[in-house]
């Protein structure tokens, strides 16, 4: 997706310090009209902080923020054309659902008829019509979250900001609401910026994912690209569950062909697509558990006989831990084909699907 032609939200050189602690450092981000961007990263990496900066709830230290082509760096939150949904819902406890929805409009002096119309529309979209007269305390978590989304919806904003809106809900409700949010996005086609540290949410919802760490965006790309071609070891390890297997070793050249070596283990890299000109030296070889085949016959560029160490059933799939030389590898197989602990199996993979990282952690 080409994002930069006419960005809906454009963040330039954004820096934010809390006192002397830098949280965001010269961050640039362009988000296209109607795009669904997910900010993903470990706790404390500055996702909420970035969102609050976009919303105008924090005073930034440096940089500029544009929304719809307008420089809003010094604008009040209400003038930025944004709606925000918080993790804790943040519904006004003493007001009914209807009052919660209408509060912003009343403050803005919207005519009564218009308010009623917008509430009716939001209630219809979110299916909360029968809840309008209730207080937030009398709602379930999922209903509260819908009302919180409704509050952003009625204000008819250009950009939706979500700060971990589903993380207070149980797993089942979370997956239901996830689908609803996706549907909402398809229906409204607004720009949405969504913070989460749940990678399933990120993968399923996002047009593009921005993986953050320590206030810096590590990789900004489509979910598949992030999954298949992580730019560095951090992203590779952060995305994917169960996590990627890493083998420490080195890159060697033998007779014009590159291969990866770690002790006795030698993996030919003829099918691997290098991002940069390879040089001999230390490297880390990464392979996702689901990209390793088990007893699946011939045809792999690399295969080996191994012993099964531990078997972890996960429902539909089973995670099989095997020992390959000195290394422990996890292999993901359909549960009905799971081997027994201690049995001998053959594993194989295609290095094309691997990720190689240099000494500095960047993709080779």
């Amino acid at each position: 997706m080409s994002a930069t032609a006419n960005p809906s939200v454009s963040i330039q050189d954004l820096t934010l310090n809390f006192g002397i602690v830098p949280v965001l450092q010269s961050l640039d981000l362009d988000i296209a009209e109607g795009e669904f961007i997910v900010l993903l990263g470990p706790s404390g990496c500055g996702k909420s902080t970035l969102l609050n900066c976009i919303a105008g709830l924090l005073d930034i230290s440096d940089g500029r923020i544009f929304i719809k082509g307008k420089n809003v760096t010094w604008e009040e939150p209400k003038d930025r054309g944004i709606g925000m949904v918080f993790q804790s819902y943040a519904l006004y406890p003493q007001m009914s659902v209807e009052k919660n929805l209408s509060f912003g409009l009343k403050v803005a002096g919207t005519p009564k008829a218009e308010i009623d119309k917008r509430i009716a529309r939001a209630a219809e979209i979110l299916q909360i019509e029968q809840l309008l007269q209730r207080k937030p305390a009398a709602l379930s978590g999922g209903q509260r979250q819908r009302v919180a989304i409704g509050r952003a919806l009625v204000r008819d904003v250009d950009v939706f900001l979500f700060d971990e809106p589903l993380s207070n809900l149980d797993a089942k409700l979370r997956s239901e609401l996830r689908v609803e949010i996706k549907r909402l996005h398809q229906r409204l086609a607004n720009t949405m910026i969504y913070v989460t540290h749940d990678q399933i949410e990120a993968m399923t919802l996002a047009d593009r994912i921005a993986v953050m760490r320590g206030g810096v965006i590590q990789q900004l790309d489509e979910p598949q690209a992030i999954y298949n071609r992580p730019v560095n070891r951090f992203v590779a390890g952060f995305i994917g569950s169960p996590g990627m297997n890493f083998i420490e070793g080195g890159l060697e050249e033998s007779g014009g062909d590159w291969r990866f070596g770690s002790g006795d283990l030698k993996v030919p890299l003829s099918t691997y697509v290098f991002d940069q000109q390879p040089v001999a030296g230390p490297a880390v070889f990464g392979m996702r558990p689901e990209h390793i085949g088990l007893n699946s016959g011939s045809g792999w560029p690399f295969s080996a006989k191994v012993t099964v160490d531990v078997v972890e059933p996960m429902g539909s799939d089973t995670l099989v831990w095997v020992r390959l030389g000195a290394q422990s590898l996890s292999v993901r197989v359909p549960s009905e084909r799971a081997p027994k602990t201690g049995s001998q199996v053959e594993i194989g993979f295609d290095p094309m699907r691997a990720s190689l990282f240099g000494e500095d952690g960047n993709r080779l």
Binding site: N52, A55, L57, E76, P77, K78, I82, G83, M84, F86, Q87, S88, A90, L91, Y92, P93, Q94, F103, G104, V107, A108, R151, R155
Partner: protein, 335 residues
């Protein structure tokens, strides 16, 4: 009895154990262990609520202590009430603990309407109305200002807010006596010395540190995201305060009202320093009645006057005691 082997033995054992106070804990414990160590009847071990003994050592100690403390506080009150209902001849008999033989409300009427305090003889009623005219505006004014202060300090971290807060807290620790005279001068200069409004101003200022602290802590304990949501919704300083914060803060307002009503109503020092005889609050008048040197000491009138003066805070406590405790706890948890 040995470790039970048969069902009968076990039932006997159970009966013995369940009769409270009959068996010592040690034996019960031994029995439990034996059951645990593979006794066939293990499944019939204790179940359901653990029995509690009404007269355990612990309970006797707790209730005993509470009783003593309660008597300690209630006895003087009892003496005051019975004395205020006796006539002077009966009081002279000397037995202060005996209930009145003949109940009379004469002392109460006298204390309220005709007792003499120095110059005038219209009882406590004058002081009562003065106190009302002091307390009501002081309470409203101080709480209005302090709650806005606390809100601004908790939610709008403006430049210098930390410094401002520190100064306020230091202010709470300066002894009142140090400031008495400077305030006399200030009030004289602005022409409020001796008037009720002057005292209202003084009370409002002196209530400020502790009330601001109370409100700041309470507002800081409210979820910050609510405040952010209101800002995104476009609400400003005052509309967030009035429409979001205040409706959520009823308990802490109740606490503040109680603190202020009792504090200001019971105040003696400021009342005696900053007012004149015709604007004396009730406490000062009470003192003048009780300490007046002319004539015989009318203990019953003094007691009645004291009870009358203490009635207002007492009533406030009874009406809102529950809310008070809840609000104090809520304000204290997070800071």
């Amino acid at each position: 009895m040995a470790t039970p082997q048969t069902l009968e033995q076990f039932q006997q054992k159970c009966a013995a154990v369940l009769r409270p106070g009959l068996r010592k804990n040690k034996e019960l414990e031994r029995f439990r262990v034996s059951v645990k160590n593979g006794n066939a009847l293990a499944a019939d071990g204790p179940r359901g609520p653990k029995p509690r003994h009404a007269f355990s050592k612990r309970n006797i100690f707790i209730y005993g202590t509470l009783f003593v403390v309660a008597v300690y506080y209630l006895l003087p009150l009892y003496v005051m009430v019975v004395t205020s209902l006796k006539g002077m001849p009966e009081i002279r008999l000397g037995n202060i603990f005996s209930p009145p033989m003949e109940i009379t409300f004469e002392p109460w009427v006298k204390a309220w309407a005709t007792a003499c305090t120095g110059l005038n003889c219209d009882g406590l009623s004058r002081g009562f109305w003065n106190s009302v005219r002091i307390t009501v505006p002081s309470v409203i004014l101080s709480i209005a200002i302090a709650s806005v202060n606390g809100y601004a300090l908790a939610n709008w971290r403006f430049k210098g807010s930390e410094l401002f807060f520190t100064i306020l807290i230091v202010g709470a620790f300066i002894p009142y006596q140090v400031m008495l005279y400077p305030i006399v001068i200030i009030l004289r200069e602005i022409g409020l010395y001796g008037s009720l409004s002057g005292l209202v101003v003084v009370h409002s200022i002196f209530g400020m540190p502790i009330l601001t602290l109370l409100f700041r802590n309470y507002f800081a304990s409210l979820p910050e995201e609510l405040f952010k949501a209101a800002r995104v919704d476009g609400a400003g300083f005052w509309s967030i305060y009035l429409r979001i914060m205040v409706p959520m803060s009823v308990p802490i307002f109740v606490v503040a009202v109680i603190l202020q009503i009792t504090g200001i109503w019971n105040d003696f020092l400021f009342g005696v320093v900053y007012t004149r005889p015709d604007t004396y609050p009730m406490t000062v008048q009470l003192n003048n009645i009780v300490n007046s040197v002319q004539g015989v000491k009318e203990y019953n009138v003094n007691m009645a006057a004291t009870l009358l003066t203490g009635l207002v805070p007492l009533i406030v406590y009874f009406i809102s005691g529950k809310l008070f405790v809840r609000g104090i706890a809520a304000g204290a948890v997070k800071g």
